[in-house]
Amino acid sequence: MSTALKKPFYLRPPWNILFEFHKLEKLTPWNINIAYLLTTFLEEMEKTGQIDFRASGVALDSSALIYLMKSKLLLKLEEPPKPKPPKEFLPPPLFLPLRYELTSTTIKNLLEVLDEVLKGEKLIHSERRIIEPVLPPPSDILPQLDRYLMEIEIQMEKLYFSLKQRVKGAGIIEFSTLVKGLERLEVIRTFILLLFLANNGKIDLWQDEESEEIYIAVGEQPCKQ
């Protein structure tokens, strides 16, 4: 019984090549001597007395496969080589002539646009300031906001619609006016919606540095770019 448990001889090199196909694929078929492998395989089988017809069958199959691989390679070699396309003259790169050109931008132009950019910067500053002081810690409001957040798209549309009505299409409205008479939680919800709307570019927000009033601009605004 012990022989049955022992690894059969043909799973050792060099014969293992006939039984492990994945290894076969990695080898060049020309490097495999089938005649040698099969002869020694039979000799070894007779010597050890481990006559196994299944193993012989597999060995035969593998040999056939190797032959096939060899003949395929041969056929490939026999294919007439494709005629090389006639070598075409490839001209060297044509470098464009270099010409110096004076440009018209002056420091005045630079400062003109700087003025606009700094206005934009101010706006971003105030947007940031709004976010920090006004929002209470999220833990206070989030549990109650779950359902509300799920409906946020609808709520945003509602608020945007009412904003547009209040400014009659386009204009500016103060945050304090918008939330007048509302409860604290409602005020916060409205504010969060405003941030979402501003983020989507539907409205613009900024805060007056002294009065801390937040202004909401609705409708066509002069472009920031």
């Binding site: 002539p97 270099l98 010409r99 110096y100 004076l102």
Partner: protein
């Protein structure tokens, strides 16, 4: 009282001064514009209406430049237009100093192939130059150096008049190709040296 001789000398000197100033003005105009200028534009810089006078002056300046034998040259292009530029032989040596966006070697090779083989199908260009050529062709079209023309299902590529001007080449296709051939032959001779 001045003698006649002295007057003549002074007059001559002032005429020379004037000529120098006018030549310098043309040089200034060509330098700052960085593109070909026609006689009308040069007339307006010199505040004269005489195209003939300006033409004579430009020729003098061109000759001066040619005699100086330096890195810059003034060329006459088609339709009496003039341009100041770096001589092509210096381009590879100083390209890296240019702060304007330049075309890199790949697109320039595609351009020279199109220029040499034109009119040539886009398909052929891509076959010879590889798949990158699609990007090159787009870029070259954007720069108005080449133009495409649909013929049935294929696109035929050609260089533009702007291209010919930029290189100071003829607008006549056959002549241009001959000129280009000379340029390329010069180039390969230099490469072999």
């Amino acid at each position: 009282m001045q003698t006649i001789e002295k007057q003549t000398v002074e007059k001559k000197a002032s005429q020379e001064e004037k000529l120098k100033r006018e030549l310098a003005l043309i040089e200034a105009a060509l330098y700052v514009s960085g593109r070909p200028l026609d006689l009308k534009e040069l007339c307006s810089v010199l505040k004269t209406r005489s195209k003939n006078k300006v033409k004579k002056l430009v020729k003098i300046l061109m000759e001066e430049y040619a005699n100086r034998n330096t890195a810059l040259e003034i060329l006459e292009l088609k339709d009496e237009r003039y341009v100041l530029q770096l001589k092509a032989e210096f381009t590879p040596k100083v390209r890296k100093l240019v702060s304007r966006p330049l075309l890199s070697t790949g697109p320039l090779k595609t351009l020279s192939y199109i220029a040499y083989r034109q009119p040539v199908s886009q398909k052929r260009v891509v076959e010879v130059r590889g798949h990158h050529a699609y990007g090159h062709i787009k870029l070259l079209k954007e720069r108005k150096l080449i133009a495409g023309e649909k013929r049935g299902r294929s696109t035929i590529l050609k260089t533009t008049e702007y291209f010919a001007d930029y290189f100071g080449l003829s607008h006549d296709l056959a002549t241009m190709k001959r000129q280009l051939k000379n340029v390329f032959e010069d180039y390969s001779k230099k490469e072999k040296r």
